[in-house]
């Protein structure tokens, strides 16, 4: 009985090793459609955790707070640019 249990345990271990190494071989030939499908599933399963992220941490966010006042004046060069438009 013990011997059978050990055999089963070893078999289980070999399944992990075999499956892992066979996955490495499969990875190189991964079907494009399969990756696209996997990514679609990722989008669905990740949706709620993505939405929970604050917008401030996502791309296209202005990382700045309002300042006290800006009284920048147009330089001569900039004024010429606007004159040329008019």
């Amino acid at each position: 009985m013990f011997q059978k249990m050990m055999t089963s345990a070893l078999a289980l271990l070999s399944v992990f090793i075999h499956t892992d190494s066979s996955n490495d071989k499969q990875v190189k030939n991964l079907d494009l459609q399969k990756v696209v499908k996997l990514n679609q599933e990722t989008k669905k399963s990740m949706a709620s955790s993505w939405i929970e992220l604050p917008d401030a941490c996502k791309a296209k966010n202005f990382n700045a707070d309002p300042i006290i006042k800006d009284r920048t004046v147009h330089s001569k060069e900039v004024l010429s640019i606007f004159s040329a438009l008019s």
Partner: protein
């Protein structure tokens, strides 16, 4: 409304024509290619965001009398035309006397139409052709990025909705590479309010040499890990996305030369370089890693640099573990189940 400026309405036909024209462009096209077309496109892109959750100017517009930020819902916009130049006018129905509490925006506004006699702002009148030329004074070229324009201005994406849609597109399309390429070449997109206020307002030329080199490094390292993979899995794009958010910050004048941003970015790039999350893992990701937010906040913090380096390493390692722990290998569970069952049967 400034009555000296003519309103220009885009009808459906013009919109289609603009869309078709954008589709025919190469990926990155300077606005100077055709100012009439590009200024209409950029103005339209800005207009679509005005008053929406995606309007990045909104939180910087204050009523000069009360000192309070004007309600986002009070912001309205229209396209305007002056000779052959198209522009966009943004105003608030709440206040005709605005203070813009962000550096450098005033310089980008048309001096004849935007200001009250006391110097406050009555409306933001923006002409992309002028903005292009002002940025050019600093050595930066403003561009139309075809895929971004298609996605944000003409896509099914509704700018009135939350950020979620645009931003996820940026993650799954590995946008960081394209963004890094622009910055490397001292270019910026000019398609919406983010570009206007976050990148072009208060633009300075001096930091761009180093910024360009940083961008080159980002581009190179990401390209390396996806080189042999036709479509990377989304899990593998999270580190590049993280690098992209930090690089976007670095390309904003308030964060130019930020040491902490650079330190955290270096740590993220090291992880990418090590291929910690390979591009070809056959898997789905069950959740977006929570550590991402902490990494971004760390880059924006005022923490001492030696502590930042240590913390960045810890957080990036944690994020990689978090990504890997939520991976679900496709087919793995079924295979183990079958084999275990058959082995167990044989064993007994």
């Amino acid at each position: 409304m400034n009555t000296r400026l003519r309103t220009y309405e885009i009808d459906e036909k013009t919109r289609h024509e603009l869309h078709d024209r954008v589709k025919s462009l190469s990926q990155v096209t300077p606005l100077s290619y055709d100012f009439s077309f590009s200024s209409l496109l950029s103005s339209y892109g800005i207009l679509r965001e005005v008053g929406s959750p995606n309007d990045e100017t909104a939180r910087f517009l204050f009523d000069s009398t009360t000192g309070k930020v004007v309600p986002r819902s009070s912001l309205v916009g229209r396209l305007v035309k002056m000779k052959n130049s198209y522009g966009v006018e943004i105003e608030s129905t709440f206040s005709k006397s605005l203070e813009i509490k962000a550096y450098g925006v005033r310089e980008l506004l048309h001096p004849d139409y935007s200001f009250n006699p006391d110097g406050t702002v009555k409306s933001l009148v923006i002409f992309p052709e002028a903005v292009f030329k002002i940025a050019a004074l600093k050595g930066i070229e403003l561009t139309i990025v075809r895929d971004w324009a298609i996605n944000s201005i003409f896509g099914g994406f509704d700018p009135q909705k939350e950020y979620y849609q645009t931003n996820f597109w940026e993650l799954e399309n590995n946008d960081t590479i394209l963004f890094a390429r622009l910055i490397k070449n001292k270019q910026l997109a000019f398609l919406g309010t983010h570009d206007f206020i976050a990148h072009v307002a208060n633009i300075r030329s001096e930091p761009w040499e180093k910024l360009s080199q940083t961008a080159q490094s980002v581009e190179m390292k990401i390209k390396k890990i996806i080189a042999e993979v036709e479509v990377p899995t989304i899990a593998s794009l999270i580190l590049p996305y993280t690098a992209g958010v930090i690089l976007d910050d670095l390309a904003q004048p308030p964060s130019y030369d930020s040491k902490n941003h650079n330190l955290v970015l270096d740590t993220v790039l090291e992880s990418i370089d090590r291929n910690d999350v390979p591009a070809n893992y056959p898997c789905t990701l069950s959740k977006f890693p929570k550590t991402f937010e902490q990494i971004i906040l760390l880059s924006r913090s005022k923490m001492k640099q030696d502590k930042v380096i240590e913390k960045a390493k810890e957080l990036v390692e944690t994020m990689v573990r978090e990504i890997k722990s939520s991976l679900v290998y496709e087919g793995m569970e079924e295979k183990i189940g079958e084999r275990l069952f058959s082995r167990l049967l044989r064993g007994y």
